[in-house]
Amino acid sequence: MTDIFSDKPDARYRLTRTRKLIRNSVHRLRPRRIGLRNRILLIFVAGALLLSSVLALVTYSFTRSNLVDQRVSTETNQAITNARRTQNDLLRSPKEILIALDQGGSAHRIIYIDNTWTGSSPLFSRQMIPPALLQRVQRDQKAASMIVDSLKGQALVVGIPLPRINAMYFEYDNLREVRDALQSVRLALALAAIITTFVGIALGVFASRRAVRPLANAAQAARAIADGRLETRLEPTDDPDMQALTSAFNDMVTTLQERVERDARFTSDVSHELRSPLMTLAASVQVLESRRDDLPERSQAALDLLSSDVARFQGLVEDLLEISRFDAGAIRLVLEPLSLFEFIKQAVSVSSLPRTEIRCDDIAALVAIRGDKRRMARVIANLLDNARIHSGGKPKIVIQLADDESPPTNVWIVVEDDGDGLIEGEFIKIFERFSRGGAAGRRAGTEGAGLGLALAREHVTLHRGRIWAENRTDGIRGARFIVELPIDTTQTHDEHTHE
């Protein structure tokens, strides 16, 4: 970023820059593709694999050299004994070379005497004697041994000079026992390495779970708080590493809870305090109204204004109180099984549009829901009010099953109007508190405070339903509001349940 604006560092520019910086650092902080848990697991597995392999290799090479050394020294000693015996035999009867060579054991032997090589077995010929060994025995007249690589693996060749009969004695041992032993050791070590790796994986899984558990707990708690369960706290812990997080988290939630409760209490207190004077106002206005005819014309006009606004005020306070109850989570629904069609008919009859057309097919007419009569009636009344105020025309209610599932699980109550419909961006916003639709001027008069749809949404949500708005798709201009409610499938509508 060049600093061409640096001579006029206005606030907006600085803000964008700060935002960019934050975004960049957030980007950098963003966890890599592998999660913490998998990272811990990976480290454990890699560690276990490395450790067990190194251990196995070291053990193997150590065992191998030990085994081979031991074997070589045994073989060498044996060869020396054999050579001596052969020498004695040959001293006694020089012609019986082959008999002299037969000293038992598994070794193959060759003797060089009178410029002739004589072997006990075709498996060992003089070509197999390394020149270095031959030279050492022949020239230096010293016993020596050497490990050679043969087709069948390593083998030991021992060479011994026999000066008394002027001969050289060689013994060949294929070290099969050592090879077999090493084979077993290799197998055992490989097995051990595999087991160790698996143990490492298990430990890794365990450790990563343990390591991540506080984080998972914190995430779960945060979700619970976001869902409105503000009393959620993290368990206090002895772990000094986690203590900082736990106490900071809990402090944050406490502060948040206090603030939310203070706000809710304030709304509730204000509304409660307003109720008593409202009560007096309403009663007094009624006394005046019963004497309306005795009043001069101007006083009558003033009284009409007064009484209609007292009613409006009363509605507003009721709505505010209900909203503050939602915020405080203090709503207790009085649930009872309701035949939906009958309920809608009754709810419409007490609304501001009692003659609204209701359409309901034969199947939807059988649907029952569990609902709080008065609160659900408010939802219907508010939706009809909204349609009346915005469309000016006649809204219509359609009751239909939400899906083709059998048995049906949800039912829709659709309130359609033939007004101007909604514009992009309003679909969600109209459910916000005190929202008055996109263009405030579209609202006829000043009726309603903009709490009706917000309350409807809260009520429907409490009934485990959904509410949303869309424009009509049947070619007619207008909006439709859909309330989706779960169908009551329990057939025992009996005792009222008070929740």
């Binding site: 004077p277 009560m279 009663a283 009624q286 006394v287 306070v317 629904l333 009085v334 008065r374």
Partner: protein, 228 residues
């Protein structure tokens, strides 16, 4: 018929009391005022009212206590005023002996309508039915008497009317909505808890074993029925 009704209004807010008094006097009724439960007991003893209106939130002895106190000596209809309809207050008030309730702020017209409904006379039973017998339970509508096992039972006016409604069609099933309409004058949106609590109270008085009712029985999913 409703001219000359005497209402005792128990409310600690002086201005509400004054405005309710004005509005009810417009109906042609006499209104006694009490600012506390203690005052109310004294005034009620001196001038027994036809209806008592009690705000639950009172200084000193509260509305529930006052309800129970009045119920000890009188079957007068009691309307209580609560802050909210969805709290336990409503059920607690009804169980303390209230006949109906209103939530603040209410219109005095609504209150007057409630009072009129509570004071409606028991519908005259069919001629020749001056005495209704349900096993060990005997109802004499014209005299307002109920006799269980040869002993007279004290019912409040509302309980008596509820029982008479059920007795008008022995064995017939009455839904909550129907009873709300006939006894309290409410429509579809009446509070079903009114019926439930009153049925419970009635059973305490007319059943030999209220836990296993034999007269006022529940018909699952439909309502209530009176039988022998």
């Amino acid at each position: 018929m409703t001219v000359g009704i005497r209402v005792l209004a128990v409310e600690d807010d002086e201005r509400i009391r004054a405005s309710v008094k004005l509005a009810l006097e417009d109906e042609g009724w006499i209104v006694d005022e009490a600012a506390s439960g203690e005052d109310a007991i004294a005034i009620f003893a001196k001038h027994p009212a036809d209806v008592v209106l009690i705000d639950i939130m009172l200084p000193g002895i509260d509305g529930f206590e006052l309800c129970r106190n009045i119920r000890k000596s009188s079957d007068v209809p009691i309307v209580m005023v609560t802050a909210r309809a969805d709290t336990h207050d409503v059920v607690a008030g009804l169980e303390a002996g209230a006949d109906d309730y209103l939530t603040k702020p209410f219109a005095p017209k609504e209150l007057a309508a409630r009072i009129r409904a509570l004071l409606r006379r028991v519908r005259p039973s069919k001629p020749g039915h001056s005495k209704l017998l349900f096993g060990n339970l005997e109802i004499i509508p014209d005299e307002g008497k109920v006799i269980l096992n040869n002993a007279e039972v004290e019912l409040t006016k509302t309980e008596f009317r509820l029982l008479c409604e059920l007795a008008n069609d022995p064995g017939g099933v009455f839904s909550r909505e129907l009873l709300l309409d006939k006894v309290w004058g409410y429509g579809y949106f009446g509070d079903g808890r009114l019926v439930d609590v009153h049925i419970r109270r009635l059973r305490m008085k007319v059943e030999t074993d209220p836990a296993n009712p034999t007269h006022v029985v529940t018909v699952r999913g439909l309502g209530y029925r009176l039988q022998s």
